[in-house]
Assembly symmetry: C2
Homo-oligomer: 110 residues x 2
Amino acid sequence: LVSSDRVIGTDVYGVSDEAIGQIDHLLIEKVSGKIAYAIMNFGGFLGLAHKYYPIPWTALKYDTGWVAIGLALPKANYAMLQSSAMIWWKIATWETRTHQHYGVPPYWGA
Amino acid sequence: LVSSDRVIGTDVYGVSDEAIGQIDHLLIEKVSGKIAYAIMNFGGFLGLAHKYYPIPWTALKYDTGWVAIGLALPKANYAMLQSSAMIWWKIATWETRTHQHYGVPPYWGA
């Protein structure tokens, strides 16, 4: 088991090991207690200050010490991330497409 | 979905609606992303300052606003909680017995 204290605030890295943000908070399915998304704060990276981007929990990869979370995030998608960070909750199909993008099963078990 | 920001810091109430502590952090199953326990801080209640007590996520009950978490925690068990808070991770059967105590299924799907 890992503490939320160790997850929140953890750096997120892109494919070239460059830091692209930090985990700001988690989105939890209330009844099941399953974490749906880790919400990343771009933290000024690429000028995306104070922008949040949801990453499916199952798309996160951990190092052995649970300290760093590495994310295979193609650079070509940064522009997509920028727009998604602003409007993702307004798009009905966003959740399905995002899990397909990362190749991970949806948290809602569909 | 509910944010970890709204869960952490939330008051926990006993059966008589008395505040008994606050959610301090969460323990997460790393691979599945399932929250196993919400860790309550007694916060000085009954002189149990800085004592932590793990509550199975599925044993928590929420009000409609997600702001308060009420826990049906029999007063007779406070002494048990005190000892559990100190040594629970050392007792092999604690997790099984605790989930049985609350009448909730174990997070590990056994």
